[in-house]
Amino acid sequence: MRTSTRRSHRLMALAAVAALTTGVLAGCSSDSDGTSSNASDSGKGKTTLTVGTFGVFGYKQAGLYDAYMKLHPNITIKEDVTTRTDVYWPKVLTRLQAGAGTDDIQAIEVGNITEAVQTQADKFVDLGKDVDKSQWLPWKNAQATTKDGKQIGLGTDTGPMAICYRKDLFKKAGLPTDRTQLANLWKGDWAKYADVGKDYMKKAPKGTKFVDSASSVYNAAIGGESQRYYDKDGNVIWDKSTGVKAAWNAAMTVATSNMSAKLKQFDPTWDQGFANASFATVACPAWMMGYIQEKAGDSGKGNWDVAAAPTAANWGGSFLGVPTASKHQAEAVALAKWLTAPEQQEKVFAKQASFPSTPAAYPNLKPAAATTAYFSNAPITQIFSDSAKTIPVQTFGIKDQPIGTAITDVGILQVEQKGKTPAQGWSAATKEIKDVLGQ
């Protein structure tokens, strides 16, 4: 007993010293591979480029990094992923402003691009000079361009919108199941889509609703409006915006007429909703098709179909920027250009249905055979590229994202789940947005 105690004390002390030293040493010795930018060169003239993302790009899965490294044997690519988006962007903002620790390429989500353009433009390389801008959709370029014409990001994917629906449920509810016929039913107005929902609910199959949530209808509708929360001069006009009004009204019809499954998107219960076929339609950007396929599973195969959405709208998509803090700007710009070129965007589409922002790729798009079969052989690429090409140029502002959340997760949710009136929901959202804007 006594010796063992003493020995363990001595051991503890030894371990303490050892661990503290190794800790500090390991910290210091990782100089070579710790910092991305100066890092890199392991002596043999090799350059390591780090690509900072929040995980959804699929470049690795589509084999793009490997292909690039084969083309450029002196380049090594490492992806620096932070999947939590509520941490990724604050992290990037902090690092950009510290002027240290940024990756050589930094992905920017569409919800953050305006903030980046308006507050971080001096921290990014102007990519507009190095590329043929006409390769991209004009509205995509516009999102990443400052007032004085500096383009801080190259477009990766986009989220053109369609309606994914369950043919089998539509049939039981006595509605048409043909995608062109349906598209014509609701063409031009999300309110018409909600009207179809009312028809659906008259003879809805037991345990099913028309749509997953009112918020998803709102998001889809606002995604096609040119006037959103800000005007061109950066003033907040959300309460006067025609786009917001239209999208809000459509969402209110859904929320107040018992056609919504009242789920919250990307919650585990939403996944269950797909698996249990508890709703018949969902506004689906191209990237959501894989999600549906995975969550709805085998039972949904051939029962899902895709129709054009009421309006051409965009939901999601990203950009690649090169921070000026990168020590390998030239190499990073070259890689960003290559990753966003039409040929590469085609490959990513084939892998995970991320829809390209470069129209040159559209004629050659080949969705995965399994996806086409799952969605009843719908002409997926046709539907989405039609939508992508007709999306209007939208005006964005710095606080778009939190304003949108205030409307969907406060205003709409109160009406949908707590039985508040639309007027009450609107005033709750108004109060919330004032808080967001610090008014």
Binding site: D86, E115, T119, K262, T269, Q272, D409, V410, D435, G438
Partner: protein, 342 residues
Amino acid sequence: MSSSKQALAHPAPGSGAAPGDKPGAARGAGGRGTPAPGPSSWRSRLYRWDMKAAPYAFISPFFIIFGAFGLIPLLYTGWYSLHNVQLSSLDHKSWAGLDNYRNLLSSDFFWNALKNTFTIGLISTVPQLLMAIGIAHLLNYRLRGSTVWRVVMLTPYATSVAAATLVFTLLYSWDGGMVNWLLGFVGVDPVNWRESTWGSQFAVSSIVIWRWTGYNALIYLAAMQAIPGDLYESAAIDGANRWQQFRHVTIPQLRPTILFTVVISTIGATQLFGEPLLFGGVSGSKGGSEHQYQTLGLYMYDQGWIIGNLGKASAIAWSMFLILLIVAAINLLFTRRLRKSQ
């Protein structure tokens, strides 16, 4: 230095009751804190210096390291709270004086968060600490596989947040969740756990209790290990049953540790944000559509991290500090008054 070794050996000889008196006797001879007359004045000077400097040497690592890496950022936060500053424009801040604080005082969201913090803190902390002390008491019995039991109690604290999120979202989901399914057996209508005020606060508290009870139990257990066995023995001789022993021996002996857990839990409850955030799922930082379970910590997280109003968020952070100071001051007054009246 054999002499000191002997001194240390005094209180713990293998047998007999006598040694118990010895330290006291030694104190009588030597006096409190007075060094024994050393062989040389150099040594005694060194000794005196050691006596004076040692306390500062012992606390200095904390203050030096905290000063370098903890204090500076916190002071920065305080500085931000006096400015209009966005997370995206740290260099373009403008002086705001106490505006951020004034805005908070007139903000319904702030008072709502304060109220929620208080109620959730109350319904999570009190049962948590009571259960923890009970569990610690049970763990303090002679148990088969005692290490395993201890390990098990701490697993909630170690379980990954991602996993816990999934589990609790499924448990408390409105439609088809396990809790509502069980309630259905006793004829209770499904509760919308996320959106109802009491339901959501109860659910959040249940996650807090699940996560932290074992944690506090271990803290109590450590303190129970230091309670002399003979206290129980003499209590037993006096005819005290288990409950009376617990009440009259364990609890009084745990007083400093209970104070510790109360202070820590109060601070923890004030800053609570992890559990409601995970309970809320997507955009959980709102704490429900009517902010029905948005705590101060969550409001701060939402403002600073999601919305990017760093100045306002910093003001929330520092007002939590001020609130805790007020709580401490009230507590102090209260106990003083209580002492006087006794």
